[in-house]
Amino acid sequence: MIELSSNFMYASFFLYFAATVLFAVSVTGKKFKNKQGLEKNKAGLLGYISSIAAFLAMMTYFTTRWIGVGYAPVSNMFEYTTALGIAINLGFIIIYAIYRNNYLGLFTMPIVMLIVAYASMFPGEVQPLIPALQSHWLTIHVITTVIGQGILAIGFVSGLIYLVKVIDFNKATKKVKGLEFIMYTLLCTLAYVILGFSFGAADYQATFEFVNEQGNEAEINYVFPPIIGPNEGELISEQGINPFIEVPAYIESADLNTVLWSVLGGLVLYLLLRLSLRKPIGGAIQPLLKSVNPQTVDEISYRAIAIGLPIFALGGLIFAMIWAQIAWTRFWGWDPKEVWALITFLFYVVYLHLRLSKGWHGEKSAWLCVIGFALIMFNLIFVNLVIAGLHSYA
């Protein structure tokens, strides 16, 4: 069952790729089509269809895994992040149905791919559920939350399109730098995925003996070549190199090493792109967006947030509180994950008020959408992996 479900996941990956290509054709092929006369460009529709097919494939992954593991597959980083990819896909399907905007597809599909690929970097084996997670509320709370976040992510994508469209890339302004930073972050994720897959395929593993925080001898595994070594580490595996730097015991050296590889990998990718494009990445994409109506993408981003936020509030706050009351004896306990869900909610509330009552439209609003999504990702990755709390199961 589990194997079957992973196959559907691979299949959907190709469908996402196909959808991306089709949307790209629909966006760039317009002129070509006009010369042919009145024949309509069907690429957008086909792209939409393949994104729906990808969604169905992912849902099959989801259902088969659900059957296989015996609980809703949203219990650890691998499962949750995958579910986020599916949810963004769902959000796209909904919003596309309203606005039929092919640019949205062109931007959303690669991001979904990136997120699903990122998810697969986490261990995907079936995990036994600890008692606190054995509840129907796991299903209800997490799935509602992830759908909310998925739709909110469309707000981010749309805001991103808006920014790439309107920002003047000829001058090195703060805005250009900000946007390039977003691109760079995406490239770091890409670099992490590529490197992870490559070293994984090569079965790379370096093992160190080191002295941990408690002052005891311990072993630590590296899946990336160790640039940063553990405290008083000694290489004991055949593979591996001697690290260049050693960090104190309270730092998770293997994790930091992975982050360093991603950051450097992203940098390499970014510089390569900059050199070959000879302009900011955003600036290189901009011409593609010539016929984007900024008013429309602005409205899409707002619509996505107006649709997504109530769902997020329901899943991430209200259902969360109901479950917390049952499992943890109190509906609210200021656990870091709870606090960051509240912060995310409050942030979007500020967005709505600024937009609706202070007239923050267009560019300002688009920046807020980007920050909002950054908060969601922060809550998913950083709060889960770094700020340990009651929620750190992964």
Binding site: V69, I98, Y99, P123, E125, V126, Q127, P128, I130, P131, A132, Q134, S135, W137, N293, P294, Q295, T296, E299, Y302, R303, A306, I307, L309, P310, A313, L314, I318, M321, Q325, I326, A327, T329, R330, F331, G333, W334, D335, P336, V339, W340, L342, I343, L346, F347, V349, V350, L352, H353, L354, R355, L356, S357, K358, G359, H361, G362, V383, I387, G389
Partner: protein, 552 residues
């Protein structure tokens, strides 16, 4: 303040932008498009600045202030997650040194600034209180005039009003305007618009109730906050902890000695490491993974309604398996499985031995119940063993005297006195016995007390919770969600079509989702001679913002 009289005859409050009745702009505004927020009504808070009460009122009425409060809340909330809050540091750790020791200088600062209890600090609570006040005042100040404006709006609007809508169109090439309006009316009715006619003019309106969404939502939030506030009132909230040994019963605190809980059995079930399904994950885990924590409990109730104390009699009410995610609930109380202690010592069994004395000790065996030890043990062969002192949790105190830390037998020590047959009161052999301890205290002993067995029990740790604010909090949550959905998933749209002396004027306003409104116009224009209106903000982004007023 004087009222402003519009040319249509309507009296508008001071500060009105667009006449409440006909919509004629009463104040000059920049841009092509009118600011339709709150229908251009006067927000009273912005028009009176007199007494201190008004100043305070106006402060909290401001959306800007509201936004600032939320921003402050979200920024300060994030600070509290930098390091764990005091309630999440390991039990038994002293906060005064823990933060500095774990997190260095930053941790020390964190503690000194009180961030280890950030969410119950006076200033954080003050922020939340301000948010609540702002919600009440800002909502009141906007809801009332908006409601009035939407109720008193006329069908025939002033030309200036129509021209300054984002969607506006006109045409004087239509032959029979009234007939076209008639057709449009039919189309819009099918689209479930509410239609009002007046002197041949038309107002089609849909989804007005979405405009109340934000206020319903705010009412829900206010109720929620009131619920949160009530927690601090006496009798509303209870948070207690209880430990119950297997086979024993304890009183449930907070029930006035009314209810008791017996722990019949405590159980921890682990995942089977042989299970193929979980093998990979279990081999990666640091230790065994727990599947179930369960207390098989019996709830008991006092039958004698008499006095608290030793004459209490109990009857069984119900049996229940308390697990994580499945608390035992009765009369507003809930008992949650939160903690446990395995293998707490409960009984020691001893025998007597001697290398020097020739006697039969085979019948000598005695058991000390560590939770209620017997004082003396007498045996058929004339031997007598007496417990001189018992320390459930032995320690040598500051005065270098043996004593106990508490009444839990975690490190029990017993001082025995052994009297062989015929020995006098002062001739006993004294020894101190505990786990791996057996010391003679008054010189060489002829007899040795040997421990032959120990019994242990598991202890369950339960949280006792009563929260009378839950119904109010839930009600607030439900209303909040209803309002949120009402305001987000429906939208208010209006279409005005007017015949002004042979010229057809056409305008539309939506509080969001302009796309849907444009589609409706498309439908009308496809089926009639009425033209499509132009979006006046297209190619000109300098128009004043146009969205709805889902605001505080």
């Amino acid at each position: 303040m004087e009222k402003v009289k519009c040319e249509c005859g309507h009296l508008n409050p001071y500060g009105t932008y667009l006449c409440e009745s006909c919509g004629k702009p009463l104040k000059e505004e920049k841009g092509k498009v009118a600011n339709m927020r709150y229908e251009g009504v006067a927000r009273r808070s912005q028009t009176y600045k007199k007494s201190p009460v008004d100043l305070v009122w106006n402060f909290f009425s401001s959306v800007k202030v509201g936004i600032w409060i939320i921003v402050l809340l979200l920024v300060t909330s994030s600070l509290g997650t930098l390091f764990p809050q005091e309630m999440y540091i390991p039990p038994g750790e002293n906060a005064t040194i823990y933060y500095e020791q774990e997190y260095g200088l930053l941790g020390k600062l964190y503690y000194q600034l009180g961030f280890h209890n950030l969410y119950s600090s006076w200033w954080y609570m003050l922020l939340i209180a301000s948010l609540g006040i702002s919600l009440v005042i800002a909502s009141l100040d906007r809801f009332v005039p908006l409601y009035r404006a939407l109720k008193t709006q006329r069908v025939s609007r002033h030309e200036g009003f129509l021209k300054r809508q984002r969607l506006f169109g006109e045409s004087n090439k239509i032959d029979n305007i009234d007939e076209e309006i008639q057709k449009a009316e039919k189309l819009l009715k099918e689209k479930r618009y509410n239609i009002r006619r007046e002197n041949g003019n038309l107002l089609a309106e849909k989804g007005r109730f979405a405009r109340w969404g934000p206020y319903v939502n705010h009412v829900g939030l206010i109720i929620f906050l009131i619920g949160g506030m009530l927690r601090f009132f006496p009798e509303m909230y209870l948070d207690e902890h209880m430990w119950v040994r297997e086979g024993e019963h304890e009183v449930v605190s907070g029930t006035n000695g009314e209810y008791f809980l017996r722990n019949n059995d405590f159980l921890i079930e682990l995942y089977d490491e042989e299970d193929e399904k979980y093998q990979d994950a279990l081999s990666r885990a640091d230790g065994p993974v727990v599947k179930t924590y369960q207390t098989s409990a019996t709830l008991l109730k006092r039958t004698s309604d008499g006095t608290v104390g030793s004459e209490t009699e109990l009857e069984e009410i119900k049996d229940y398996d308390i697990r994580v995610n499945d608390p035992l609930t009765f009369e507003g109380f809930s008992l949650y499985q939160v903690d446990f202690k395995l293998n707490e010592l409960s009984e020691f069994t001893f025998t007597l031995e001697s290398e020097t004395v020739d006697a039969d000790f085979s019948d000598i065996e005695f058991t000390v119940n560590l939770n209620d030890p017997q004082k003396t043990f007498e045996f058929d062969n004339g031997y007598r063993v007496e417990i001189m002192e018992y320390f459930p949790n032995f320690i040598i105190d500051d005065n270098r005297e043996p004593t106990t830390i508490n009444r839990i037998p975690d490190n029990p020590r017993i001082i025995f006195e052994v009297f062989p047959p015929g020995a006098n009161e002062d001739e006993g052999e004294i020894s101190l016995i505990g786990i791996q301890v057996n010391e003679a205290l008054n010189g060489e002993n002829d007899h040795t007390i040997r421990m032959t067995g120990a019994e242990m029990v598991d202890v369950t740790g339960l949280t006792i919770r009563k929260d009378r604010t839950l119904p109010i909090i839930s009600l607030g949550g439900i209303i909040f969600m209803i309002g949120f959905i009402q305001g987000s998933y429906w939208h208010h749209r209006r279409i005005w079509i007017q015949n002004r002396e042979g010229t057809l004027l056409l305008a539309g306003h939506a509080n969001k989702n302009w796309q849907a409104l444009k589609n409706d116009f498309q439908l009308v224009s496809d089926n009639t001679h009425i033209p499509l209106p132009l979006d006046q903000t297209d190619k000109d982004n300098k128009g004043v913002s146009q969205d709805d007023d889902r605001t505080k």
